[in-house]
């Protein structure tokens, strides 16, 4: 994996930071205190992270914690007070104006928190803007813009002025404008905040698919934890200008670094974060096909369970037998193969828990988690599905 985007000790202080401010920052004086004593606002404080090519890096955090400032530092719309920003290994702070311009034209596009639409241009021209700047010929430009507008569901609106659109439509114009430009890196500052759930879901899918297909690198700010965990390969949580924790959604859910983060993720819908593999467990009892019925009954009785999965060579899942069947089969001198049932559910290891809920509700047996070769990886019982909701 190649590092696409990286920051090193990035710091942004608004106002004229005096020596005193730097000293206070070093001493870890609180942001509020610094504001009160010096009048300088700390936007971003000594932030370092890496984003790999093709990764979605989500930034979350309290309102005013410096997310927008951080993302704006990445394309130098806000000039950092200190620190470095690397894109493809080059420190863009050392770029000449011309180099910076080319970087912004070709590699990065931004979706703004407040949309930043051009009020004097039609929707179409807004979306074409990035392409026009690059000197793409008109026809191609129009085609791409039209595609981007279709993608965000604003097909027939291209001739309107931004002021004539609703808030969410304006936001989507901003989105289309960035997408039309087809950049390597997408910087998205709360790009879906004004969207209703239906369109938002569409946009999320669209974006994930795009990212997957074209290996886009995306830095994504959102306040919706479910969105963060759904979209993000890794999530960073900011507080007072500092990144408090970075990790995969599961890591953060599993090991919140502080009470603040625990609190933060409280609302998360775990069933949309956790996958089958996260909640499955290795069954206490398993029956090899070669074992006899007696063995099966003993196993079940031993572990106080009423059914057991039967596996073949290489843990290939063959079926399930219940204790009742086993007992009567023993009487009737039948074999394991004779009473093998297949009315249980199987699932893949990466299926999200929320998709397992209907299965869990309908089944009387545990759910079997199998890989693509039908090998049994683990089982999921109802209780594990429920426990996914409480962590």
């Amino acid at each position: 994996m190649t590092t696409k985007l990286q920051t090193e000790n990035l710091t942004k202080v608004f106002g004229r930071p005096s020596k005193q401010v730097w000293r206070m920052l070093k001493e870890g004086v609180a942001k509020d205190e610094i504001l009160k004593r010096t009048g300088c606002t700390v936007g971003v404080n000594n932030v370092s992270f890496k984003v790999n090519k093709g990764e979605v890096f989500v930034i979350m955090g309290l309102s005013g914690s410096g997310k927008s400032t951080l993302i704006r530092c990445l394309n130098l719309l806000t000039k950092p007070t200190a620190g470095k920003v690397f894109v493809d290994g080059e420190n863009i702070l050392e770029y000449s104006r011309e180099e910076l311009r080319r970087l912004r034209q070709n590699k990065m596009a931004m979706v703004f928190q407040h949309f930043g639409l051009f009020t004097h241009m039609s929707v179409q021209n807004n979306v074409e803007y990035g392409l026009a700047v690059k000197g793409i010929p008109r026809e191609e430009r129009e085609k791409k813009a039209q595609q981007a507008l279709e993608a965000v569901g604003l097909g027939g609106w291209q001739d309107m002025l931004p002021g004539q659109l609703s808030g969410g439509m304006q936001q989507r114009v901003g989105l289309a404008r960035a997408l039309a430009n087809d950049p390597d890196i997408l910087l998205m500052d709360e790009p879906f905040s004004s969207l209703d759930p239906l369109i938002r879901r569409d946009m999320q899918m669209e974006l994930l698919e795009l990212q997957d297909r074209l290996q886009k690198t995306i830095v994504f700010i959102t306040h919706d934890i479910n969105e963060a965990f759904k979209m993000g390969d890794r999530v960073a949580v900011m507080k007072d200008g500092i990144i408090e924790q970075t990790g995969t959604p599961e890591e953060i859910l599993a090991n919140p670094a502080s009470d603040y983060i625990r609190d933060f993720v409280q609302d998360v819908d775990r069933s949309r974060v956790l996958q089958a593999k996260d909640i499955m467990f290795t069954p206490d009892a398993l029956l090899s096909r070669k074992s006899g019925l007696k063995m099966a009954i003993r196993e079940m009785q031993l572990h106080g369970i009423s059914s057991v999965f039967v596996i073949g060579s290489g843990r290939k899942l063959l079926g399930l037998i219940t204790i009742d069947d086993a007992v009567s089969a023993l009487k009737d001198n039948k074999t394991v193969d004779d009473i093998l049932k297949d009315d249980y559910f199987t699932t893949g290891p990466e299926i999200y828990v929320n998709e397992l809920i209907p299965l869990a509700k309908d089944t009387r047996y545990p759910i079997a988690v199998v890989d693509e070769n039908e090998r049994l990886l683990g089982i999921i019982v109802r209780a594990s599905v429920i426990s996914a909701f409480v962590g």
């Binding site: 719309l77 596009a109 703004f112 930043g116 051009f118 004097h120 241009m121 700047v133």
Partner: protein, 282 residues
């Protein structure tokens, strides 16, 4: 009040400087003059070539297309009244001078305004110069101008420009400085060059203010018609001066009104053009 012992005779040096300039660089001024004269005479020639009804029809159509039918009619009637005042020919002559002056003022003023908006230091230097251009009584510079450039239409254009330039510079500067930072940043985030930022975002956004500048420049140019006539530029200004020297209120009013009508026609057509231009941009 102010002690008489303290004196400063700056004026003398200026005086000497003007004569020195004239003696040493007279040629340079001649070259500048020739350029302006060429445009001016061609415009005038064209205006006088057109039959009166043709020009009235032209103004009507332009007014109609750029503004509204009513505007077209009003402009045409105004032009007709000028003719009925017996001021057709001097009006065309004035029109030529004013158009030339406005043309060069915008040509110089808008870029200067842009430059002024881009750097505070430029604004700091330019502001007092603009103040001086607008408040230095015109005859103070007209006398050197007549010495350097002689009398006539060309120095008339220069005198007009000195007075007409500041509003367009100032208002271009103001308009550009007031463009929303958000849009500027959005444009920058796409790697716009300064040019692209300027032409695609800032200028269109500042257009209403710039158009007020164009209006003021036009007004100032027409306000200078009389002063220009005083150094031999002719046109309606000349008629005005004649009337005034004769204390002829009637003649003064008619020729004065002709200037006003011209002002209104030029201004409204320019505004209409600006709106059209803006609509096309977006």
């Amino acid at each position: 009040m102010f002690p008489e012992q303290i004196t400063l005779e700056l004026g003398k040096y200026v005086n000497d400087f003007i004569y020195w300039l004239n003696n040493n660089y007279g040629m340079v001024f001649d070259v500048i003059c020739n350029g302006v004269r060429w445009l001016l005479l061609n415009i005038e020639w064209m205006l006088l070539l057109m039959p009166w009804w043709f020009l009235i029809a032209l103004v009507f159509i332009l007014g109609w297309r750029l503004k509204s039918l009513l505007s077209g009619v009003v402009f045409a009637v105004m032009l007709f009244i000028i003719g009925a005042f017996g001021l057709w020919e001097p009006t065309m002559s004035t029109l030529a001078i004013v158009l030339t002056a406005v043309f060069f003022s915008l040509l110089i003023g808008i870029p200067l305004g842009i430059y002024m908006s881009s750097r505070d230091s430029v604004a700091l230097v330019l502001k007092p110069i603009l103040d001086a251009m607008q408040t230095l009584p015109s005859f103070v510079y007209l006398i050197p101008a007549v010495i350097l450039f002689n009398m006539g239409k060309v120095p008339g254009v220069f005198a007009t420009m000195i007075y007409a330039l500041p509003p367009i510079i100032r208002l271009t500067n103001l308009g550009l400085r007031r463009v929303s930072q958000e849009m500027v940043e959005a444009a920058q985030s796409f790697g716009s060059s300064s040019w692209q930022l300027l032409f695609r975002i800032k200028l269109p956004q500042a257009l209403p203010t710039i158009m007020t500048g164009v209006n003021q420049t036009t007004m100032m140019a027409l306000a200078m018609v009389v002063i220009a006539a005083m150094i031999g530029a002719g046109g309606i200004g000349h008629v005005v001066v004649t009337s005034i020297n004769r204390i002829d209120i009637a003649g003064g009013t008619e020729s004065g009104l002709a200037v006003v009508f011209l002002a209104i026609i030029i201004d409204r057509l320019t505004q209409g053009l600006g709106d059209r231009f803006n609509a096309n941009l977006s």
